[in-house]
């Protein structure tokens, strides 16, 4: 082996090892995040975190019950807006539309997907908060729902298009009308994929903070109904983390652990649903 070749082999081995180090560093970040959250959050979580309201400034104790309920309500409102639009829009794109309309809708969805979440917040503010003149759960739900639309739409469409042609043709040959084919054959065949898409969209907006800052705002108390400002977990983490109180920091860690746990579990479940065998065999 000439020295030149030996040098080349050394460079090759060294650089390839470095790429391995890069991958290791990137993946280990996830475990650092989880480790810190479990370490700091785990010791701060207790029963009153889930059941009590925040205490006044300066008093220790209390919990984030109102933020947990607030987040649930925001996500419910978001899903009621985002899922139907994404799902039905995707059915139109995959089953009915011509290529020109489909191109425009896909383009708009991709554009919407790329809009920074803080800008979505400004939009929801000018569209929902300004006319009603106050912050509300509805406005926050609108902002989050808007963010769910493009994710649901694009992935649902992809899964619908993956349903083999033979299935459609079989249903048509039996005399089923187009929408009957869609409802009884195509959507059931793609339901795993669609469910995954919806869950991932849900998990994505569950942790969004920026669009809630000036739509749902925040609240130290319960927020009855849909028309008042409400607390939410992500916003609470933000306000508690940047505040100067030791006890608030403790609760921010606890809230972070709860939020991240929820999001990771939804992500893993969504992927497990998909990996368990796509109900649609490739034609």
């Amino acid at each position: 082996m000439s020295p030149r070749l030996r040098w080349r082999k050394f460079v090759s081995g060294f650089m390839l090892a470095m790429t391995g180090v890069c991958a290791l560093v990137a993946v280990s970040v996830l475990f650092f995040i989880l480790g810190y959250l479990v370490y700091h959050g785990g010791t701060s979580i207790n029963w009153s975190f889930f059941t009590k309201l925040p205490t006044p400034v300066g008093e220790t104790g209390g919990g984030m019950a109102n933020a947990i309920v607030g987040s649930a309500k925001l996500l419910l409102a978001a899903s009621l807006l985002g899922v139907p639009i994404g799902f039905l829009g995707a059915i139109y794109l995959a089953e009915f539309s011509g290529s020109k309309v489909a191109f425009v809708v896909r383009y708009a969805a991709d554009l919407l997907n790329g809009v920074p979440s803080i800008v979505i917040g400004i939009f929801a503010y000018s569209l929902v908060v300004l006319p009603f003149k106050h912050f509300s759960t509805l406005a926050g739900g609108f902002a989050l729902g808007l963010m769910m639309v493009p994710i649901t739409l694009r992935s649902t469409e992809e899964f619908l298009l993956a349903v083999p042609r033979a299935l459609r043709e079989a249903a048509m040959a039996l005399g089923a009308s187009k929408w009957k084919t869609i409802v009884t054959v195509i959507v059931p065949a793609a339901y795993r994929g669609i469910l995954t898409a919806v869950l991932l969209a849900f998990a994505r907006v569950a942790g969004e903070t920026a669009p809630l800052l000036f739509t749902a705002f925040g609240n130290r108390y319960w927020s009855p109904g849909w028309n008042q400002p409400t607390a939410s977990l992500p916003v609470m983490i933000f306000t508690y983390a940047v505040a100067p109180y030791e006890d608030w920091h403790r609760q921010a860690w606890a809230a972070g652990l709860v939020l991240l746990g929820l999001i990771l579990v939804i992500n893993i479940v969504a992927r497990a649903i998909l990996a368990r065998g796509i109900a649609v065999p490739r034609a």
Partner: protein, 328 residues
């Protein structure tokens, strides 16, 4: 696939009859309803652009192009200039890319070229989970872990070794451009890895085999043949990451220090477009103040819009080229 193509060779008469039949069977109704939902996506997007444009009209007229070159941000005197925020946004995004690009591409090379398929898929699963971690969680760790680490160890260390550069001078606060850039880098690395890995995996096998057959080492075939082949797509992933970094709000807001300064030092506290909107939007008193913030939102929107468009274009070009030659 249009609905009409499912009725083969229909004469004009049977065509109109089949329209009535389709209506009775519900096809036209379903088509109309789903159409309305699909079109609402387009309408909402247009409305968003209109709202940003309309909502910043006052500020746009008052300041004009001067808005982008003014350093003063004084809500009391109603003087608004975007320069410190634009500077901060670009500065943090640059720092993040300097860190994230080599790390991300290195990891993508490992996943696409070296790792066995099962390991690669498993690591990709963790990378996907990492991409799902919300911004505010990164901010939380940034405030309590990264900032003290920067203040007590990294910044004094950099100052001792590279302090002669203006980039690494000034007092070590912990918060600032460098810290925000590092947190941003951690956040965008998953995007670079996922997209680059896919692009690298779409490079046809013959390219690698040809390079190895000519006697190149494994690294030479990767670095001189496979990576250049996927270059456009990798650029796409970088633009995608850049767009994310520019629009990222919470994590940056929590670690950048929130002071509108323009300083060559990376240790200096700063401010970004997204962070100033997040902090001041609810406190903005007076129309002009609010509209200046909306105009900042408009700027951010246009920036990310351009970058995302460019990124998509580059990724599509590469993956088409890859599959095109694979079939040839």
């Amino acid at each position: 696939m249009a609905a009409t193509t499912s009725v083969p060779s229909a004469s004009p008469i049977s065509g109109s009859r089949s329209f009535v039949r389709r209506l009775r069977e519900g096809d036209e109704v379903a088509r109309l309803i789903t159409f309305l939902f699909a079109v609402s996506v387009v309408l909402v997007t247009l409305l968003l652009i209109f709202a940003l444009w309309q909502g910043s009209a006052l500020a746009r007229h008052k300041f004009g192009l001067q808005f982008f070159f003014t350093r003063v941000w004084d809500p009391i005197a109603e003087q608004f200039g975007a320069l410190p925020f634009i500077y901060g946004t670009l500065m943090t995004a640059t720092v993040s890319l300097v860190i994230a690009v080599p790390l991300g591409i290195g990891a993508a090379i490992f996943l696409a070229e070296l790792a066995p398929a099962r390991l690669s898929d498993a690591l990709e699963f963790f990378i996907d989970l990492l991409a799902a971690v919300p911004s505010v969680i990164y901010g939380l760790l940034g405030v309590f872990i990264v900032v003290p680490l920067m203040r007590d160890y990294v910044q004094p260390g950099l100052k001792a070794t590279l302090g002669f550069l203006p980039l690494f001078s000034g007092p070590a606060y912990g918060v600032g451009f460098l810290t925000a850039g590092i947190v941003l880098a951690i956040m965008v690395i998953p995007y670079i890895i996922s997209v680059s890995r896919e692009v690298l995996m779409s490079v046809p096998r013959d390219q690698r085999e040809a390079a190895l057959g000519l006697g190149s080492t494994r690294w030479e075939s990767t670095w001189k043949v496979v990576v250049p082949f996927a270059r456009t797509g990798i650029m796409g992933s970088i633009f995608l990451a850049l767009a994310r970094a520019l629009g990222e709000t919470m994590a940056v807001t929590m670690v950048i220090g929130n002071t509108p300064t323009i300083s060559a030092s990376l240790f200096s506290p700063g401010y970004t477009i997204a962070a100033v909107i997040a902090n001041e939007f609810t406190e903005a008193t007076g129309d002009l103040y609010l509209q200046a913030l909306v105009e900042l939102g408009l700027v951010l929107f246009l920036l990310t819009f351009l970058l995302n468009g460019l990124a998509r274009l580059l990724i599509v070009i590469t993956s088409q080229r890859g599959s095109g030659t694979a079939h040839a």
